[in-house]
Symmetry: C2
Subunit: 526 residues, 2 copies
């Protein structure tokens, strides 16, 4: 029997608050520090490890976190979720994104169909279409192969698929699986669509229109933009466009599209990269086999997340330490810092994933909570970030917990040796150095050159960023956010906070404004 | 006589803390709210306005902020800066970036030269080179015109110039001034350089190597990467590379470069977009005339920043309200939200500008301060952000002050009408709606659909994003950060916090590690 309780009503949380915080700089120093780094690590499979030595915990705090995990019934709640319970309480929906990449529990039936079978069917249909496009069986009107795929979507239909595409673009090039270049149109700003259209060859492009409801303002507007461009080029839009939508949407059965693939209400946009939302563009760009490898990487993390033992469950451990940092230690934000240029937009995806899921002030029953929930998330790839905002991370007045990611090998494996080391070695040396610099600090009589240390981080280390490890990273953070939602007793799967702005924008466009809204509208020339 | 005092020693700051915070939702409601929006606005020139009606101030608080500005001697400190005082106390340097775009005060002489004349000379030399490249007077070995310019730099040599290039790329295309495509290589990750090189035509590319010291690890490594690629293509690197560096750097007088342009120690990387660091790549990409228009836009804001009257000085006003939000109201972060796809990387530039300048715990004399200084900064363009992290901004447990930017006209002016309105109108309607939604909120019996409101924002509204308005935006935020540094009594112009990581990384690369650093190095395969 699952009890859904607010964090501050749990006895183990009260206990956790009573523990003495650790002195991280001291704990990380000397040989004891070395032993700590060796010991505080959890294998994730696929050559990945989650190392949390530089997070502010010790065995006592870990024991308290284990008790919290147990009292909060994290394992049971996850099981309820993947077995089809109505976890999205606000919208009264199941939460089934795990089923797009595997099956962790019972068969889940909804709307009269087995949902795992349904998602697999969509994946298969996408794979078939991609195969025909790549083989030249589906071509443009001139019988020429398509070379470019353009995703039209916003939010979850954009950030995740875009981040995943960029993460594998160069890898695919050197591995011979880069089949089509992908571009993305998202913003309602007309310069977004116009800019993308100005640099592609529309005659050789397939457009993937992604909108679950089939009513997203930005996406329908951009569809028209693209259809105009196709018409101007004398092309038949219905031979260049694919829809990814729900079966009940206006786009589902339209003759306007070459094909339609389906998603449903049980997968939120920000959790949809492993559904047809990511599947269509990624399968077209890299081939269905690469997309399947990506799914397998995610599925393995989903299985790992079932472990009741914290030290065999990196997502749960990451979640618990994050809540400890946020609610007990009071750290206001979290930074995501992948040492991999290919992950340049991964932080932007996690920003949505985390902030839209857990940026809430009411619990899953709609009652206000009296503790802090999700923090602001930001980040850029290293080493770029080092030359940007790391100053504040090292010496600012706020302490910002850091989530590093690093790989031993580059993707393209083209490298140069300068001063005796490769660029990849320099990249890895920098992330190792940063973890220690943040944790241990450095004394200096000149206070301007003094580093207090005690600034926590963890790192996921892998051999190389591949489809499997990318899938693993994605699922790790999805599951971390899910567990944090359970701890804060939130519904992490709705987003009522985006509604008011939409309502007011519609009012402006209809001219139904007064007061401040009217003045702002006037100032903006509407 | 200027007195440099910590914020918490100022009588006017004590007074400010005693003021009653305003009820923003109530203040923005009804006709009084409409009047407030009309009244709380400051013209910035070039058709721009800074509207602060939705920031948490009233006339009483503004009066207190004016007293704070006076007691903190903001105008005098700015004057000292542009007249050549040693404002960068840690490094004992003047701070002269304003001189790259105009002269606000006395002649400044350093190293025996008039610095305004020096920067103008560099600008002129850049313009001459760009003119010759565009005219085909400087070509590749085959006598063909260069089509692409690739900036090699990191941090301030990358983020600002990249953000500025992206901001004007589409504008230049439709205005007939897009002369060369620009690309950027920054990260020491070898996949960054390899990825860029895989998509450009090196035979028709000029590379701009930017490093003030001539010793930046990432930049020199990437230079080698590029030289290897040029050599493999049978090309003479010295005919394809330009250096932007200090006169004393090893790159300055080298036969390895087609030309060298100079910067100096009086301009920090994050303030260098208006120097040759931004000038070379932007003049090559868009022509020197466009770069000059950009400088003029910045210079006008620098002049505006001299006003002692808060209500005629948007940068100072923005700075003061930001300090009030941070230190009196306790808001932990700030988001930058331009409603313009062209400003996609402007938030990343401001992230460096702000966090590297004011993310510090000691004052300009190296003494610890006992108040919060610079906040974490993040942001993405709207409407994209609305579908990402706005959930937390509307309903999260933290209040995040917002800095909106919006333009009445798009850059490319290619648009479609859907449901009776253009995309540009939809874009503008959204930002108007968001300001009011954040400020006023909405009551609802269902607490999940309830918006508390009281979430502050300001907006800079302009007619169009052009070289002038872009320069104005850049200078506004530079000057805002400068004034906040004065208020917090910081040295905003050094970055000692980035040094420790560099030292430890060098140690790793030399194999001189022990303890935790050695174990992390091993785990990362170095």
């Amino acid at each position: 029997m699952i009890a859904w309780k607010n964090l501050d009503t749990l006895a183990s949380y009260q206990e956790l608050q009573k523990t003495e915080p650790i002195a991280l700089a001291a704990a990380m120093a000397g040989e004891a520090g070395a032993e700590r780094v060796k010991g505080y690590t959890v294998p994730m499979g696929k050559g990945l490890d989650f190392n949390f030595a530089a997070r502010p915990v010790n065995d006592e705090i870990l024991e308290k976190l284990a008790q919290l995990a147990k009292e909060a019934q994290l394992t049971e709640k996850y099981a309820a979720l993947y077995n089809g319970a109505v976890i999205n309480t606000g919208e009264k929906r199941m939460v089934l994104h795990h089923l797009t990449r595997g099956q962790q529990g019972d068969d889940v039936v909804a709307d009269g169909v087995n949902k795992r079978a349904f998602y697999l069917e969509q994946q298969k249909k996408v794979a078939e279409l991609a195969g025909k496009v790549h083989a030249g069986e589906i071509t443009n009107a001139a019988g020429e192969k398509f070379t470019t795929v353009v995703q039209i979507g916003i939010g979850g239909s954009d950030l995740g698929p875009r981040a995943m595409y960029l993460a594998l673009e160069n890898w695919a090039k050197v591995n011979g699986t880069h089949k089509m270049k992908a571009e993305f149109i998202s913003n309602v700003d007309p310069d977004d669509a116009a800019g993308v259209l100005s640099k592609i060859d529309v005659a050789h492009s397939i457009f993937v229109l992604v909108s679950k409801s089939g009513t997203t303002l930005e996406t329908l507007t951009n569809e028209s933009f693209v259809k105009d461009a196709l018409a101007k080029a004398g092309l038949d839009a219905s031979k260049h466009m694919i829809a990814v939508t729900s079966e009940t949407s206006p786009l589902a059965k339209s003759a306007d599209y070459l094909a339609a693939f389906f998603m449903d209400d049980y997968i939120g946009g920000r959790y949809s990269s492993t559904s047809a939302v990511g599947g269509a563009v990624l399968s077209l760009a890299f081939g269905p086999e690469v997309f399947e490898r990506f799914l397998n990487g995610a599925a393995e993390q989903d299985a790992l997340a079932k472990n009741e033992d914290l030290l065999q469950n990196p997502a749960m451990l990451d979640a618990l330490i994050g809540v400890y940092e946020r609610n007990v230690l009071g750290y206001p934000t979290t930074a995501v810092l992948p040492y991999s240029q290919a992950l340049s937009r991964f932080p932007a995806h996690l920003q949505q994933l985390d902030m839209e899921s857990n940026g809430k002030s009411v619990n899953r029953d709609g009652e206000p909570v009296s503790y802090l929930t999700g923090p602001a998330i930001f980040g850029e790839p290293g080493t770029n970030g080092q030359h940007s905002f790391y100053q504040l991370l090292h010496q600012g007045t706020d302490i910002v917990p850091l989530q590093f990611v690093g790989f031993r090998r580059s993707q393209m494996e083209s490298d140069v040796v300068i001063q005796g080391t490769t660029s990849q070695q320099k990249l890895c040396a920098n992330v190792a150095a940063q973890i220690v610099a943040f944790a241990c600090g450095k004394d200096d009589e000149n206070r301007n050159k003094y580093f207090a240390g005690g600034r926590p981080s963890s790192i996921i280390i892998g051999d190389q960023l591949t489809p499997e490890t990318l899938g693993a990273l994605l699922a790790h953070f999805e599951n971390k956010v899910m567990f944090q939602g359970f701890l804060w007793n939130l519904n992490s799967f709705d987003q009522e906070g985006v509604q008011l702005g939409k309502v007011l924008a519609t009012r402006v466009l209809k001219g139904e404004t007064d007061g401040a809204l009217k003045v702002y509208s006037d100032l903006l020339g509407i």
